[in-house]
């Protein structure tokens, strides 16, 4: 995966929607900065159970143009609330197997408290505004995950 997808902004670093396996090392390199003392990495993964049923795999679908725009907005909102030095956000699409990473967020701050809080805010906000949908597959069927109505301005 190439992380050459940097937006021309001094603050916002990486936003990417990709059908490829997320490269965590590259993501962390993307937020490398000697002014930071704390990096928090959140990984969302495909879990083998949901609502008491065994899940066998998961499909992720996005509205690509809008999802990238909204991921950028997640970063901007996060940067507006915490003194974040670097932030990178990648969401996977397509067919994922159990244990695979569906979303990765790395936040680098001078201090750990800000990094933890900012990363938590970023993943929560992503779930509220980024147009992505997932479908769970079970041994005996499949179902779209019951989502949330997006929080709109």
């Amino acid at each position: 995966m190439s992380l050459g997808y940097c937006r021309p902004s001094a603050e916002v670093e990486v936003v990417q929607l990709t059908p490829e396996k997320i490269d965590i090392e590259a993501l962390l390199q993307g937020v490398d900065d000697h002014a930071t003392g704390g990096v928090v990495l959140f990984l969302g993964k495909v879990r083998n159970h949901a609502g008491g049923r065994e899940v066998t795999r998961m499909d992720y679908e996005a509205y690509p143009e809008m999802a990238e725009a909204k991921m950028l907005e997640v970063e901007k909102q996060t940067l507006g609330k915490w003194p974040v030095q670097k932030i990178a956000l990648v969401h996977r699409t397509g067919k994922l197997q159990l244990g695979e990473v569906s979303v990765a967020i790395a936040v680098a701050c001078a201090h750990r408290k800000d990094a933890f809080e900012a990363c938590r805010f970023a993943i929560d906000t992503l779930k509220e505004i980024v147009p992505v949908w997932k479908k769970e597959y079970f041994a005996d069927g499949e179902a779209w995950v019951e989502g949330v109505i997006p929080r709109t301005p």
Binding site: E61, A69, L126, W133, E146
Partner: protein, 81 residues
């Protein structure tokens, strides 16, 4: 005037349609599409109660007036992450 509709997730599956162009009258609002879509795709009527709309990649309120050439996304409740 003409607008493009884009369907996602369960709505895409149920309508068997990724994208379609439709003609709408001047001054049509986003909420008017709910009726139009329900007529054309009766099997998504229930889902239209919780659908969100986007216009040109930004969420749009139901009272927004559509413009010629708008790309309108039909967004089921989201479940990313």
């Amino acid at each position: 005037m003409k607008i493009t509709l884009k369907f996602f997730g369960q709505l895409r599956e149920l309508t068997k349609c990724d994208e379609t162009e439709i003609q709408v009258k001047e001054d049509t609002m986003v909420e008017d599409l709910i009726w139009v879509l329900g007529e054309r795709f009766p099997n998504i009527r229930e889902h239209l109660k919780v659908v969100s709309f986007s216009i040109d990649n930004e969420y749009a309120g139901k009272g927004t007036v559509l413009q010629d050439g708008n790309v309108v996304g039909l967004l089921p409740p989201i479940s990313g992450g």
